[in-house]
Structures are given as C-alpha cells and as structure tokens.
Amino acid sequence: MSEGERKGAWLLMVFALGWRMIAGRSRKSLRARSEADAEAARIQEFHLPSGRDADTKTQAVTSGRERWGTLLVACSLIAAIAAGIGFLFIYWTDGGNKLLGGTLALSFAGFGIALVLWSHFLMAYKEATEPLEPLPSPEKDRQTAADDFRAGARDVKRRSLLKFMTVAGAGVFAAMFVSLLRSFGAPIGPALYQIVWRRGQRLMTADNKPVSIHSLRPGDSVTVFPEGSIGDEHAQTVLVRVQERFLRLPADRVDWAPMGYLAYSRVCTHAGCPVGMFESQTNLLLCPCHQSTFNVLTGATPTGGPAARPLPQLPLYADDEGLLRAAGRFSATPGPGFWGIQ
C-alpha cells in the first residue's frame, strides 16, 4: 500500500466508526426518548391499587411567606458575607483562633441557614409518590442472564483442566501478596525476651548517677536503669525504700531487699504503662492508666484494679562502696502478658 492509500484507509475506518457511533446513538436516543416518556408517566401521580390517586400534599408559597422568607434569607446571606469578610481580615492580620474560627463558623452557618430558610419559605412543598419496583429481577431476566453466561462459558475450551491450573495459580498469587506482610514485622524473640538486668550492674538514675544505700529515706522513690541503658523503656525500674520491719516478701526473696530497698519493673503487667505513682503511706505502687495497685511489701502483688500478675522484682545487694547493684535478673519477663511469657 502506498502512503496515500494507507492514509485513505485510516480515514475510511475512522469515518465508518464515527458513522456507526452517531447512527447507533441516534437509535439509542430514539429509544431513550420513549424511555423518558415512560419515566415521566411513571413518576407522575399514579394510581394506588385501591383506585385512589396518590395523595399529593402541596404547600404553595403565599405572598406573605415569600416576603418574609426573602427578608430572612437576605439577612442570613448578608450576615454570612459579612462574617466571611471578617474571616479574611482576621486571617490576613494573623488574628487569634477564637475570632478566626468564629467568623468562619458564622459565615458557613449564615449560608447554611440561608439555604434552609430558602427551602422553607420560598420553595413550594410538594409531596410526591413513586412506585418501587420489586428488587428481585423477573425470573425471565435471571434466566436470560444465566443463559448468556453459560453460552459464553461454553465457548471457553479446555475448561476443567485449565480451571484447576488457574485456581492453583491464583492461590500462589494470593500467597505471594499475603506473604509480603512479613516485611512489616520484626523478630519476636530478641525483643520480647530481652534480658535487661544482669548480676552486678549498678542502679543508675536518669541523670546517670549511681544510687547508694543512703540515697533514699523510707517513703522515697526514684526511677532507675541498668548502667549503660539509661532511658531504656523496657528496663525502667522503680526503686522504693520502706521500713524493713514491714516487709512481707516471699521466703525465697528475703535477701532481695537490703535495708528496705525494693526494686520492681516499672512496666505495668496489665497494659504496659509506666507504674509511676508510689503512695508512700500505703506502700502501694499505682499505675495511672487503669488504676492497678501493687503492694511493694509483698513483692508487688496486685491488690486492686485490673492487673493480674505482680510486677517482676529485681533482687538487690549493696556492694562495698554502699552502691546498690542488681543481684540477678528480674523475677519474670517485664511488661504486659502474652502467650509464652516466662
């Protein structure tokens, strides 16, 4: 084909397509026009099965209402516009939040009220009734649709073999997508079972100062960390001092509290909030999130609130310089409970 012939062929194709579209559309528009008439007839007043006409309550707009309504709508719009100008002014002069938002609210309220009043006073109220077609399609239509589907399916050769392989392929594709979720996760073991205290580590305050047995009086409390992990939220520990004669620790922990110093994990075993409140008179540690209380004298056993497990305790000893050190690990995994917690 030469250049010109090719161009001519293209033009012919385009023309043919266009003609088909226009012709098709004019046919469709003829159909549409008759559909429109049917539609119009449908949504006009129609007859109820009892033979009565549909009630069409009308509320015409009287001239009194019209005047009153126009006034109200106009006032609302003026208020809205004024408030809008006020907003612009306050915005451009960096005014305060109250005025800025107040003018914005007034402006929008004015427009909204104007529209609503317009509908109340200046639009005739006409109650209309429309028939509801039953939603299930007529059985004939359902049959036709099903037949079309089956006819098309019959044109697909080698269905049973390839269907099986396609399903298997789809399953693999699904697995590929779902398995990408792995990228969002993180290894559980190291984080959940992390060992935070080791024997011999000094207790350090948040200012990186060691704690000695002279630091606190009975009734005082301070937040401490293992040296080298200041600020580590998983390792945060609360150190309190109580009078030794009040201690009621379990038998295997009697030497965990030198001179009345007690150390417990500061991460609540309920939902993980820092147990920040120490009530010195009742010797209770109180978690402010859900008000769980732990009795420091008996090993931080839960005495009230929703927590179920005691706060893990850290055994302490005082070294030769009088500084407090950890005598081992926490008695349990700190933090809220989970499946497989030790």
Partner: protein, 163 residues
C-alpha cells in the same frame, strides 16, 4: 499554710487551735524567713521535662491533679500553690506523696520544676476553653454536644416549611 490546716501525714491539724489570720501569719513567717530553698533561676523547658518525668504521673501534665487509689485523697491540683509550697512538698513529701531528696532532684532542678509549675498554673490555651484540662473525657462530652446541636438543626431543617 495548707500543712498547718490539714495536718498531712502525722502532723496534727491546727485549724481549731489557731485562727485564720494566725495561720496566715505563721505561713508567712515560715516561707519568708525559714525557707532555705533559694527558688531562683531554673529553666522552664527543663522543668517541664522533669515535671513530666517525676510529677505528672500523679498530678497530670497540666498539674490539675490526679486520682489515687485512696479513699478521700487525690493528688491535688497545683493551680493555687505558691512556689515555696511546691518546693516544700517536693522535698518533704506530704501525706501519700513520696519525697524527692537532693540525690534524686537537685536544688537547681527543683527551681526548674517550680518555675514550670508556676507557668502551667496559667498555661496558654490558644485553642479556646481548655475544659478544665480534663482531657478526652471532657472533649467527648463537648463532641456529643456538637452532635446534639446538629441533630436539632436536622429536625429544624426537615420540619420547617410544611406549615
């Protein structure tokens, strides 16, 4: 003055012994002449960080007080407390409040905390009324008030115009 009135911990209350002007005079004397904490200087931002680390757990970040598991006593609101009173409470831990000796909170840090508390007694609330700094609970009620107003508006919108 509060300590003289309420008798925190094991201290007796003097409400029935001294008259109110006498209580005020005693407080004035103590705070002006006997208080040894200088209460000068301090850094506002550092005070805020320290307050949030040590104090907010009981008194809330806006220092409006918090609930304790006690009957009858809650961590009080600090809004009306003078600097000497705040400093004294930190050092001596009245009632169920633990004390914070200089090994935990140094004098310089104490000044910062006091400065911050004084600031947060009247914090800026540029967004409007702070609803008592009660947080999401109060905000939830206000939000529902908004929903109620909108429902009333909806009733008005739909009911009007039909005579």
């Amino acid at each position: 003055m509060m300590a003289v009135e309420t008798g925190p911990g094991h201290m007796p209350s003097f409400v029935n012994v001294l008259s109110v002007p006498e209580i005020r005079a005693v407080s004035y004397y103590v705070t002006q002449h006997l208080a040894v904490i200088p209460l000068q200087g301090g850094d506002l931002a550092e005070g805020g960080t320290l307050f949030r680390a040590h104090c907010a757990a009981c008194h809330r970040t806006a220092a409006r007080g918090g609930a304790l598991a006690f009957t009858g006593i809650n961590a009080p609101s600090l809004v009306n407390y003078s600097p000497p009173l705040i400093a004294g409470a930190i050092r001596w831990g009245p009632g169920p409040m633990p004390a914070f000796p200089p090994s935990v909170i140094s004098d310089e840090q104490l000044n910062s905390i006091v400065k911050y508390v004084t600031f947060v007694q009247h914090p800026p609330s540029p967004g409007g009324t702070p609803l008592g700094y009660y947080g999401p609970v109060a905000e939830g009620f206000a939000g529902w008030l908004g929903v109620l107003v909108l429902v009333i508006f909806t009733i008005w919108i739909e009911k009007g115009g039909r005579g």
